[in-house]
């Protein structure tokens, strides 16, 4: 037994990546003709992966090295590409979010997906493995392989099980992301030619002049701004979200958007800090536009999924805002602590938004499974017939509008506090979100949940069953726990945040 546990301990990240991918292949073998077998195999694999997250969380030594669980092997020696994995507190938090969300998505899709079941579950599992790979790759090309590899399963999930305009949405999703990331590839090749290494740590140590940094900055921005997504390249998201099946939307909102934010802190901050500082105003301005303008766009949506999609763009604005406000805090005002607060807030916001958006899309999925419509006007007074569901919905709506005590409050509040120390005006504009997001979320809740029963279809609704209870319940625990006591999460990420803040401060010119 000792042997096995030590092998698991030393290959934890590899196991986390390859167990779901190989499990996905196994699920595929079950075939579409045996849907129940496929479901159980997939759930077992996802549960196994979730269990593997426990030694990851338990084995992380908060006082030790920043990067832990390192596995480093030569992969392509002729191009010095390495199979180099490692995780810090930020990676671990995001990996845990990924494994948890995947299990919930698989449970949530149990009866909703009845067409080509094994392929759906296999695609989700393969996607899970690739996303964990993204969060643990320390070799730039390994990162890129996982980053791009995700496109194919997601393309298929949206295109096969999606809504009426699924083809348009899936192709748009694919091409937008592909176009963004190829520019990053050219940037990475440039860095390799310059430094002779694909390792992120070596790239971070590579001195670069301002011209080089500027080009690289925009190459990275192209890749990650699309992924986050930032205004004005966010337009693929509403389409993808609306047309994707519930599971696809949840994965997209809860995890894949985080990869954009994660990319910023892994690539832009350490590799091009000076260009990042120089163009921080641009990212901050775009973030504020996302928070305010896209928030207002959310107000006028008639489709629930579209509304939540726009609200995702607005909330992700805080992630980019918190990340880039740190530049001006460190470089212009020399406020290390405030910068750390901003970065910390951005990361907390990522995890929190993972829970909230995942929960909101799951809620819409619950309604859609029963009514097969996403239009707000087709609902009304759902609370009368689905009281338990209404309870969850209202909780998540409150979290989405940033109510203190829920996770939505913590990250946004930290970012606003940090911003206030640099530019009170930025903080003021950002805090408008409290009004705008409360506006669209509560108005949505009023029209869907409260009031008289809207029509005969609503009157015939049944409340959530055990399976849905589990899914929404776990999301609710996450939202409340993070809102009431975020300290374990911030402690987990603190060493990496401190390192990032010092990387921001050091010029590479």
């Amino acid at each position: 037994m000792m042997g096995i546990s030590s092998v698991i301990q030393s290959h934890l990240l590899s196991l986390l990546i390859w167990l779901p991918i190989l499990g996905g292949v196994l699920t595929l073998m079950a075939g579409n003709s045996r849907p129940q077998a496929a479901r159980w195999i997939a759930l077992a694999v996802a549960a196994g992966t979730l269990v593997l997250t426990v030694p990851l969380l338990a084995g992380f030594n908060a006082g030790g090295e920043v990067m832990q669980f390192i596995e480093r092997h030569a992969w392509i020696p002729s191009y010095s590409i390495e199979y180099n994995l490692g995780a810090d507190g930020i990676s671990i938090a995001l990996i845990a979010l990924t494994t948890l969300t995947t299990v919930l998505v698989l449970i949530g899709a149990w009866t909703a997906i009845d067409k080509r079941v094994s392929q759906y579950y296999a695609a989700l599992l393969i996607l899970e493995g690739l996303m964990i790979g993204v969060f643990s790759a320390m070799d730039a090309l390994l990162f890129y392989v996982f980053f791009e590899g995700m496109l194919i399963p997601m393309f298929i999930i949206i295109g096969v099980w999606g809504g009426p305009r699924r083809v348009y949405a899936s192709v748009k999703f694919f091409l937008y992301t592909f176009l963004g990331s190829v520019f990053m590839l050219v940037g990475l090749i440039y860095l390799y030619l310059k430094g002779g290494s694909w390792q992120l740590a070596d790239m971070a140590a590579q001195p670069l002049d301002m011209v080089e940094q500027t080009w690289l900055f925009f190459a990275f921005l192209a890749a990650f701004a699309v992924k986050v997504p930032m205004f004005p390249v966010h337009t693929w998201l509403p389409d993808a979200h609306v047309e994707a099946p519930t599971g696809g939307s949840v994965i997209l909102a809860a995890i894949m958007l985080k990869i954009g934010g994660y990319g910023f802190i892994r690539f832009v901050l350490p590799i091009v800090p000076d260009a990042g500082h120089h163009y921080a105003w641009l990212v901050i301005a775009l973030s504020l536009i996302a928070v305010v303008y896209v928030g207002m766009v959310a107000l006028v949506q008639e489709d629930m999924k579209k509304l939540i999609a726009y609200s995702s763009v607005a909330h992700m604005g805080f992630v980019t805002l918190g990340t880039f406000i740190a530049f001006s805090l460190v470089r212009d005002a020399n406020l290390q602590d405030a910068a750390r607060l901003g970065l910390q807030g951005a990361m907390v916001q990522m995890i929190s938004h993972g829970f909230i958006s995942g929960a909101m899309f799951s809620c819409v999925g619950v309604l859609y499974d029963r009514m097969h419509t996403r239009m707000i006007r087709d609902y009304g007074g759902v609370a009368n017939v689905m009281p338990w569901f209404a309870m969850f919905w209202v909780l998540f709506a409150m979290a989405n509008s940033g109510l203190p005590g829920t996770s939505g409050f913590v990250g946004e509040f930290m970012v606003v506090i940090a911003a206030f120390q640099s530019h009170p005006m930025i903080a003021f504009v950002a805090s408008l979100t409290l009004i705008i997001s409360a506006g669209y979320t509560l108005w949505l809740t009023k029209r869907v949940i409260w009031g008289e029963v809207g029509n005969a279809h609503v009157a015939a609704l049944e409340d959530i069953n055990m399976r849905e209870w589990i899914v929404l319940g776990v999301f609710a625990i996450g939202v409340i726990a993070l809102g009431v006591y975020p300290k374990p999460l911030t402690d987990l990420m603190e060493p990496s945040i401190a390192q990032l803040a010092s990387q921001l401060a050091a010029t590479k010119l």
Partner: protein, 480 residues
Amino acid sequence: MMQNLPTLADLMPLLPEIILISAAFALLMLDLFLTEKQRVVTHVLAVVSLVVVAVMIITGVGGQGTVLSGMFIRDGMADVLKIGVCLVSALALVYAWPFLRERGLYKGEVPVLVMFAVAGMLLLISAGSLVMVYLGLELLALCSYALVAIDRDSPLASEAAMKYFVLGSLASGMLLYGMSLVYGATGSIDLVTISANATSVAQPTMLLAGVAFMVAGIAFKFGAAPFHMWLPDVYHGAPTPITLFIGSAPKLAAFAMAIRVLDLGAGPLGEHWQPMLAGLAALSLILGNLIALAQTNLKRMLAYSTVSHVGFLFLGLAGGGASGNAAAMFYALSYTIMASAAFGTIVVLSRRGFEADRIDDFKGLNARDPWSAGLVLCVMASLAGVPPFLGFWAKLVVLQAALQGDLLWLAIVGIVCAVIGAFYYLRVIKVMYFDEPSGEPMQPRNDRVLRVVFGVNALSLLVFGVFWNPLMAWCQQAFA
């Protein structure tokens, strides 16, 4: 005089070619004495002899060296490319079996012509003088014309063969004219001597004009824009397994020709021909991808996509240097594997009276045969350059070579075109997975050999995509 005649020991590096050509003649004779039912013997023996030649080269039989006063060079690059040519051609023959049998084309000429074409490619790959380049090329080209026209009752194929012949002859003419100018300027047909004299000729304009004509000839053989006109018609008109053959292995030979003529022969003039290749690359990338967008026939789409892939290959050549050449060679090898899988897709799904070469023929394939659909997905993703498939790494190394050669603009053209290209490959995935089956239900072929071969071919794109180090190391060694 006597001591100048080569001894048998001197000719040893030629052994694989000698054996291949002897085998081809023997099969040609043997085939005369076989009945229809025994025809399988010719076909199997042809594949066996190609594999035997590949194994001989892998094990180093005959050894490397230069023979026939520098006419024939067997070096590391030649060996790697020859192994690729022999194996891919053998693969093409195996793909062809059921297809030819169903259409009454199961004749002894097909494998023999393929073997002679392979012999032409092997000579071209090892060419050390302009004459050998021309001889190898013409042997390959004449066999290819005949192969395209092998289905003589098909008007489409006859038309394709005629176009191929006329345009091919034109290109050979250009090449020959270029060679004569180079010979006139440098006074030699030996590539090494040409290279040595290149910088000290009396009439540099004449030499440059000769090189320009030769670049055009090479571009024609590759199918680079604007010399790509023959490609779509020939690919479309030829029987699919023949398209598979002429679309895969000859690209390796064309690559060798470019290296021999340009790098070995006109190496000192790199500053003149590298921009030409860069221009051809940009044009091929843009034209190939944009026109491919509008195709509804899969064979034509793949033909235009070939044009764009040639553009990527030229990215590596234009980048120059040992690493650029190695990158282009890696691209050529990867593309050969991808192209055989891509045309193999059509072969596997076609049957008598149903060519499966329209993109709409793939509608709803996933519902009928998820295994085949999954394999086609791998092929298309690899062609589009999505990691972790082999096609991505091929693009990565040529992009790196272009950046190393300070061709940032070309690299940007390349990546933008890669995104455009992704769209039409995605469309194939889209019709397979998102659309419901329509029209006549497509029954995937139940030929076990074919399915296994296609499966191995398609999955090799994934396997090589993860473990591509040996392939790349080979290419780097060839130019070390």
